[in-house]
Structure formats: C-alpha cells, structure tokens
C-alpha cells in the first residue's frame, strides 16, 4: 500500500469519493458514447472496431475526428496525426498532474496516465488544490466508472445506433460544455484566473472560426498559458 493512500481517508471511502466525482461526467458523456458508436458504424467501422477505439484511444473528441476522417479517403497516417493533434492538450495535463501523482509506484502511474481524460485531470486538480492527496484509489474510483461507461455506451451506440433520438432536443449537446464550465469556475481562486479565462475564451472562439476545430483548443489554451508565463514574476501568487 502506498504512502498517500495510508494517510488518506479509510480506503473504501477514498474509492467511493472518486466514484462520486465521476457521476456528472457519466451523465454528460453517455450521450456522446452512444453518438460516437452510431457515427462510427455509419462511417464504415465495424461494431468491434468502434468498441476497440473507445477502449484504447479513450478520448471522445479525438475519436469523433478520427471516424469523420475514416468516412473519407484520407491517408492512414493523417488520421493518426489528426487524433494526436486533438489529444495534444493532454501533454499539459500530464505535466501538471505528474507533480501530484509522481510519488505513485511506476506501474500505477503508467496505468493512471492512460485514464487522464479532461474531467479526470480537472477533478484531480480541484482535489489537489484543496490540499488533499491524490490517492490511487480515489483516482481509479473516478476513472473506472467513466471508462466502463464510455466503452459500454460506444458499443450500445454502434449496435443500436439507429434508435437514438435527436440529441439536441434534450440539451445533450451542451451538457459537456456546461460541465467543463463548472470546472473552470472551480479554479477561480487560482490567480490570474480572470485574464487567463478571458484570453483563452477570446482566442479559442477566434481560432474556432478562423482556423477550425480542433486547433481552437491548442490555440486558446496557449493564449491563456502564455499570459501566465509572461506575467512579471512579482505579480505571482495572491495579490490580484
């Protein structure tokens, strides 16, 4: 048993706390799993291929981009490169969260990084910000339900895709942005929050229209992060 799980809450409690953090993600992501499965089959993937993609790539937006390209006659390496580009933001997550889970045994780290999707990263940062240790049990308690749900809904969507009703009527297409907005709000104490959010928002909206998706993520993120990096050193911390 590792050091951080020993000094944390009782073990089942840690795992269940993680499961609790996964609940909004499950509500928000399930429709996209179904949608991905349905679109994957529509774009020529078999049901096992669609499930395999969800189980191994495990990144919603990049999978959507991938199957979009599968439907056209695009060179294989270009599909892989596009998926890599969409997922490039995880490099930042990895560098940031590595500071919190770097004391885990190597095998647990190797496993943990596989599950490092957007909400997993963000909830871990929120927890770390509260001064709590990121235990392996908490991390997997959040990761496993999301992963199982993602693979299962992908299979359901691929197998029964034609039965899916119009997602827009239920507001489903906006649930994940709403969830991520809630997470953005969770970091509002971390200065310089407002300028970073304002710059990233403006840059991502501009890039979305001028360059296109998925580049708006990298471009928008770069704008906010560069501001934080370039800020005069004396301004760091808690003054504004």
């Amino acid at each position: 048993m590792s050091f951080e799980t020993m000094r944390a809450a009782p073990l089942p409690g840690e795992f269940l706390q993680g499961v609790k953090a996964s609940l909004p993600v499950i509500i928000g992501a399930a429709p996209f799993g179904l949608l991905f499965g349905a679109l994957a089959v529509e774009n020529g993937l078999s049901v096992p291929e669609a499930v395999l993609m969800s189980a191994t790539v495990y990144g919603g937006a990049s999978q959507m981009v991938g199957i979009e390209l599968f439907g056209q006659t695009v060179a294989p390496w270009l599909i892989v490169l596009s998926i890599f580009a969409v997922n490039f933001r995880h490099v930042l997550y990895s560098g940031a969260i590595g500071r919190r889970i770097g004391s885990w045994p190597a095998a647990r780290q190797a496993l943990g990084f596989f599950f490092l999707v957007d909400p997993q990263y963000a909830e871990a940062e929120v927890k770390g910000q509260r001064g709590e240790a990121i235990s392996f049990l908490w991390y997997m308690g959040m990761a496993l339900p999301i992963y199982v749900l993602w693979v299962a809904t992908s299979w359901l969507g691929a197998a029964f895709g034609a039965l899916i009703p119009d997602p827009a009527a239920l507001g489903i297409d906006f649930l994940l942005p709403l969830y991520f907005f809630g997470l953005v709000m969770e970091f509002r104490e971390r200065k310089p929050w407002l300028p970073v959010v304002a710059l990233s928002a403006a840059a991502s909206i501009a890039a979305y229209h001028l360059v296109g998706s998925p580049w708006h993520v990298s471009i928008g993120a770069a704008a906010g992060i560069l501001f934080a990096v370039m800020r005069p050193a004396g301004a760091g911390g808690d003054d504004r």
């Binding site: 909004p24 993937l45 291929e49 993609m53 191994t56 990049s62 294989p76 599909i79 892989v80 490169l81 998926i83 890599f84 997922n87 995880h90 930042l92 997550y93 990895s94 560098g95 969260i97 590595g98 500071r99 990084f113 596989f114 957007d118 929120v126 009527a169 239920l170 507001g171 649930l175 994940l176 709403l178 991520f180 907005f181 809630g182 997470l183 953005v184 709000m185 971390r190 310089p192 929050w193 970073v196 959010v197 990233s200 928002a201 403006a202 840059a203 991502s204 909206i205 979305y208 998706s213 708006h216 993520v217 928008g220 992060i225 560069l226 934080a228 990096v229 800020r231 050193a233 760091g236």
Partner: protein
C-alpha cells in the same frame, strides 16, 4: 490485420504518449522554473475554457441562461450542484423555446 485496426492502435499509442509525455519530460528536470510553474498553474483554467467558449458563443438564450445560473450556483455550491442546476435550466428552456 486490417488498415483500420492499425490506425486505431497507432492512434491509441499516440494518445497514450500525450498522456504520459508531459510528465516524462517534466520529471527529467530537478527543479521547475517559476515561469513554467506559473504556466502549469494556468493549465486547467486555460484548457477547460477552450472546451466551453466556442459552444457558449454559438449558444442561444437557453445556453446562456444555463451558463448564468450555473455560474451563480458555482459561487456558493459544489461541482455537482453547479452542473445539475445548469442542466435543468437548459433542458427546461429548450423544451419551452425550442
């Protein structure tokens, strides 16, 4: 193996590389420069904002009302309350105003 399978597995490997790569690079340094530290601190707000902003900018009254309510709830409540209140506003308003 089919080309599709190879593409999926290569994409999976490339994705795993992004998830483990940032840590592998950073952990090679004894100390992280304060400016890099400041950049890493800004990662959540910066990246997560880009997942919201274009959808919010394209949103109508229902979406903006949902974000407003969620933002107000976020000032007092936790993450789950924030999400559920925004989702409730969104779904009700979409039913009412299409």
């Amino acid at each position: 193996m089919s080309t599709t399978l190879w593409i999926i597995l290569a994409a999976a490997a490339a994705t795993y590389l992004t998830r483990v790569g940032g840590h592998l690079v950073l952990s090679r340094f004894e100390r992280v420069h304060p400016r890099v530290e400041a950049g890493l601190e800004a990662v959540p707000a910066a990246v997560l904002t880009t997942l919201v902003a274009p959808a919010a900018a394209a949103g109508g009254p229902a979406e903006l009302a949902a974000l407003t309510v969620a933002g107000l709830v976020a000032l007092r409540g936790g993450m789950i309350a924030t999400f559920l209140s925004g989702a409730a506003v969104l779904i009700v308003l979409r039913q009412l105003i299409g």
